[in-house]
Amino acid sequence: MRAYLVSRLAQTALVVFLSLTAVFFLVRLTGDPVLLFLPMDIQAKDVNEFRQRLGFNDPLPVQYGRFLSGAARGDFGESLRYRRDAMRLVLERLPATLELGLAALLLAFSISIPIGILSATHRGTLVDYLGMGGAVLGQAIPGFWLGLMLIYFFSVRLHWLPTGGMGGPTHFVMPCIVLASFYAARMARLTRSSVLDVLGAEFVLTARAKGLAERIVIVKHALKNAAIPIVTLAGLETGQLLGGAVITETIFAWPGLGRLTVQALLNRDFPVVLAAVFVISVTYTLINLGVDLLYGWLDPRTRREVAA
């Protein structure tokens, strides 16, 4: 178990290292980085001065080494726009994103899993058609359009909810729905198919043959086993949730990491972009590590493989 954890953490470090390297070189491959880092209307003299000060006149390997040694200490330099430490800026925004993400995750789970289970246990009935029809529709509706339409109905027409920003509980409603929509539909479809798979398994047949009540068969025997693919998807799709946060936060002016990243990209504020890439890839791989550890608990069969 310990060896497994160590190797997984090493893998996480590799992932983070490679994504940072890729972004670092992409920025430098596509033209003069100084021009990317600076506003358009700057004088040529100032450009050179900046280039010297930021160290862009050094050879590329030297720049890369400096970048890596800084990154290892969590130092990505100063945000060009805010004139503040890039990493601190990113970390300040992280809680807002995690709060929204967690709330959306809870919402997505509490809607999609019951729908998926009901569709499976009532296969071929109206419940199934409505549930799955909704899921297919939900999967096709782009989150940012849903966001605009919600703002139109609930803010512009009805004046029920604020259009954006962070404040009371009402600020959570629409961003939460939009972010949850990014994966509730897939979650519902997967829940249905994995519950259906399990319901056809022999141990469910045995449980029924024993004369157990249908409710107990489903809750005790089917659901725990059906949970494995659902947890896998939940882990894999956390990335989509982080990606969805970029869009959701932009629509609703939510002061989180996603919006900061988009603004940093628009402003060509690459120290902040690199710091955000760092935090996002660390978060994502750690969540997936957590999901893998959950398997051991859900499915004891994988424990031995992990130990081996």
Partner: protein
């Protein structure tokens, strides 16, 4: 079982109709569109749907919404098609080679895929797009660079299992050249997976392009792309709901159609397939 089959076919048919409508809109936009999508009459700005001559209303510059939505189908499908082709060819070829020859280069490729998959797709495409620049060509490059890994992984996995089958072993024993084995014996058996992935990726690419353009990157105004139209519509949400409603509805219906066709294709070609 039969009811399920009919439901599947029915949904597949609905998908085909929606997708065909989008293709028709894209191909026949110059014929179907009542106005020039780029030029508007400033005196006719922000007219609501139902205005004579403008069934879906006009935008802030007096441009006809219907015409822009129709031309938007062109942009969306063109980008989707190009990206799917590029990713299928690049990712598919890399997957074929990695699966067939194996070895350390295959391992390296798969680790690279792992790294790339450890980053949210839309954020990856967005970051690449912000770096390589705006415009139609660059959005295709960005989406392709972010999207090829899915093919590489799926195809490699399939090749690894097809490679072990008797007919491949037999062909090898007969002294068939490796290139011929790869393209005549293995590729046709992997092709269904490539088609399924392509159909499932297609709508993802269209929606991702719209999202990226919505955020201010990708396709720029005045090009009538659904994403950039939605982006512009945000400033007029209080006075002109139709500017947000119609491009988004067109995008959602196209994505729905393509998704349904993709699901149906998967059921027909390989019901056990999981991406």
């Amino acid at each position: 079982m039969k009811a399920a089959a009919i439901r599947r076919n029915g949904l597949g048919l609905l998908g085909l109709v929606l997708a065909a409508a989008a293709v028709l809109a894209a191909l026949a936009a110059p014929i179907l569109a009542p106005h020039n999508p780029f030029i508007g009459d400033m005196t006719q700005g922000l007219r609501p749907p139902g205005t004579p001559g403008h069934p879906l209303g006009t935008d802030q510059l007096g441009r006809d919404t219907l015409s822009r939505v129709l031309y938007g189908a062109r942009v969306a499908l063109f980008i989707g098609l190009c990206t799917v082709l590029v990713t299928a060819i690049v990712g598919g070829l890399l997957g074929l080679l990695a699966g067939f020859f194996g070895g350390w280069s295959g391992q390296v490729l798969m680790r690279l895929c792992d790294v790339q998959l450890s980053f949210p797709f839309i954020l990856l495409a967005l970051t690449i797009n912000a770096i390589v620049g705006l415009g139609l060509r660059n959005i295709i490059i960005s989406l392709s660079a972010a999207g090829w890994v899915v093919y590489a992984r799926v195809v490699r996995g399939e090749v690894l299992s097809v490679k072990q089958r008797d007919f491949v072993q037999a062909a090898a024993a007969l002294g068939t050249s490796r290139a011929r084995i790869l393209f005549r014996h293995i590729l046709p058996n992997v092709a269904p997976s490539i088609i399924i992935v392509a159909s499932l990726q297609f709508s993802q690419f269209i929606v991702a392009e719209a999202a990226i353009s919505f955020l201010g990157f990708g396709v720029q105004p005045p090009t009538p792309a659904w994403g950039s139209m939605l982006s512009e519509s945000r400033d007029f949400l209080y006075v002109a709901w139709w500017l947000a409603a119609f491009p988004g509805a067109a995008l959602a219906l196209t994505a729905l159609g393509v998704n349904l066709v993709g699901d149906w294709l998967r059921d027909v070609l390989d019901p056990k397939f999981q991406v």
